[in-house]
Symmetry: C2
Subunit: 375 residues, 2 copies
């Protein structure tokens, strides 16, 4: 994982090279059978597609089978899913999944328009609403229906900023309080600046091999026990209830089922908190708390690194950073470090089972992965 | 497959709906386990990403796992590869692969810049050269090295236009002669207008199931016997020889090997003739003729529908049309019709084995598929 920054002097490909090289060296693999590149916005922002061949060339691996996989902000999550299927297909044994996004260096209108590529351009973006605006509507409805207040939502970014203090690669190293969140500028009512993840540049990569080969490369292998992708209607206006993401519920039910785990079995959790309300909704949609009560887990300290359900242990999207198409791969890499007991100051004790949830668009695509330490 | 046209009044999603609906109805499947959407330029031209969830919603299948797969002009080919891996993974049984591109309705500079996203923006596009210009350099070098003339190259578009006369979905229904090609306007010396595929809108879709389930849906199943993707350096300037595409050779060697076939076994061939010279190079790179002599196959009539190696039997990229990210899926759909004896006036007699080659960028990504009629 590269550090996440806004205004990296590294290009899209330099970010990718850094993460891919680190992953390949860490895994100790020589040859790669294939590579899957997760990215959302390169066509729009960098006017560059064909990232498969481009990145393979950049890391000196031209020749290998590779292509780009895109699922909006869940691109890193769905690229991991593509990598898992490649290994399970039996066609490829040593697979690199790398995901990258470079969002800085562009104007705010450019990035704002770029993010709206995740929603329906012809019917929704045409109204002039922004991506933050759509999430603000969710927050407003959620707060109204469940009698939740802004200072409740603020618990999520406070947790993430606290956790990021221990992560040298995090975008923000700044402890914040609920009051700091409430005093930060309004972006789209009721969401304030500190309710929102920031623009960031970054790349993350992981190496996948069949489980029976993993011991050749490491003494502490981590298994991807299940990889599930689910979708919903592309647009919010098409949903009967905007305070829950059906795609999260569906992907989690499937992934938990395949992995034979219940929510109580999860030792470390990474959720897609692009906005504070999404972090809290994730705790509910993944089955850790009943609808409308997710914030209780935060108030009771359950989600801290010392709690029963350590959540966003490297800082999450809010504080580790959210280079959109890369974030899903950061989550997988962070869980791999946790489950192999290599998370340094971010380490959760005795983590054996981890879950990552990555969201594309307004809950329209969700990837859920269950990872386990291999005994 | 939708008809290919320049200036379709259908939107990107309407094109996809048409092809996907036809494929689903033709296959007689009710439920889909997943969908892979091939597309190259939607982020740049339509300012729309997240085509997985968007298209699933558009065809009333929201909920299914789906994402976009991109490999420049080979996007339809690599999306098919992703679908094959999904089925082989055992995770998904009924998989739709759909690929779509809408290129019309934009200015020539916009489409020209969009196509250059397949090459290296920072190092190559920055020089001002266009995608056609790069292919013209290949043509010039090829002609020089192998003593091939413009009227030799012209044999390829002449063949494609002849074949397209029998394809009601083709973009062009116009017989052309070598002289017509030679008299058409220069685009990038030595390539003339009729050496080049045109801007087009279109979508194609196929349904994949495990072979042992195929008989449930059809009496004439077609097997994807092998699916190979290979890459090369992204850019032409990084190659020792620009008159051959190493990625074509590599993908073909792999795909032919897995399928246990030799070039002589191929009954019908679809190659990526975005420019006349590429069609001829493909005949050589795939092993049907020695380097520099590909045009002999055309002159001897080998590639006609009545010859030993019927090639681009529906008109190829030149005359069926080349909606870039969709063309690779058109090839697979056309081979499926040929091998199930449903190609109507395009039918090649007794075709049992077919090969499709789809190129992304300047030979930087190549997908080769071998398909066989199931006895």
């Amino acid at each position: 994982m590269t550090p996440v920054t806004a205004g990296s002097d590294k290009s899209l490909r330099e970010l990718f090279i850094e993460a891919a090289t680190e992953a390949i060296e860490d895994a100790g693999v020589d040859k790669l059978d294939s590579m899957y590149v997760g990215n959302m916005m390169s066509g729009y922002l960098q006017k560059q597609e064909h990232l498969g061949a481009l990145m393979a060339t950049a890391i000196g691996r031209q020749g290998i089978p590779t292509y780009k996989v895109e699922g909006a902000c869940a691109s890193g999550g769905v690229a991991t899913n593509a990598g898992v299927k490649a290994v399970l297909s039996g066609l490829e044994s040593i697979v690199l999944v790398g995901a990258v996004e470079k969002m800085s260096g562009y104007t705010t209108p450019q990035v704002t328009e770029g993010l709206m590529m995740a929603e329906d351009r012809s019917k929704v973006a045409a109204t002039g609403i922004s991506f933050v605006g759509l999430n603000a509507m969710i927050a407003r409805e959620y707060m109204h229906r469940y009698k939740v207040k802004s200072d409740d939502l603020a618990e999520f970014p406070v947790l993430c900023h606290e956790n990021a203090l221990a992560n040298p690669r995090a975008q923000f190293h700044k402890r914040i309080s609920v009051d700091d969140v409430l005093r930060s500028p309004l972006v789209a009512d009721p969401l304030r600046l500190f309710d929102c993840s920031a623009i960031g540049d970054g790349a993350a990569a992981i190496v996948l091999v069949p489980l029976d080969k993993a011991r050749k490369f490491t003494d502490s292998p981590v298994e991807i026990t299940s990889s599930a992708v689910a979708t919903d209607t592309l647009s919010l206006y098409q949903r009967p209830d905007i305070t829950t993401f059906e795609a999260s519920r569906k992907a989690a039910t499937h992934a938990f089922g395949v992995a034979h785990i219940k929510p109580d079995d999860v030792d470390v959790l990474e959720v897609h908190d692009a906005f504070s309300v999404l972090g809290i909704m994730a705790l509910e949609d993944l089955g850790f708390e009943r609808k409308g009560s997710g914030v209780q887990l935060l108030k009771e300290g359950v989600c801290t690194r010392e709690g029963h359900l350590p959540t966003n242990t490297f800082g999450g999207l809010k504080a580790r950073g959210h280079p959109v198409g890369a974030s899903g791969a950061y989550q997988i890499a962070e869980l791999a470090l946790q489950l192999s007991n290599r998370a340094d100051k971010c380490q959760v004790p005795n983590a054996e089972t981890g879950v990552a949830q990555s969201i594309g668009g307004i809950g329209a695509t969700v990837a859920v992965h269950v990872l386990k330490r291999v005994a």
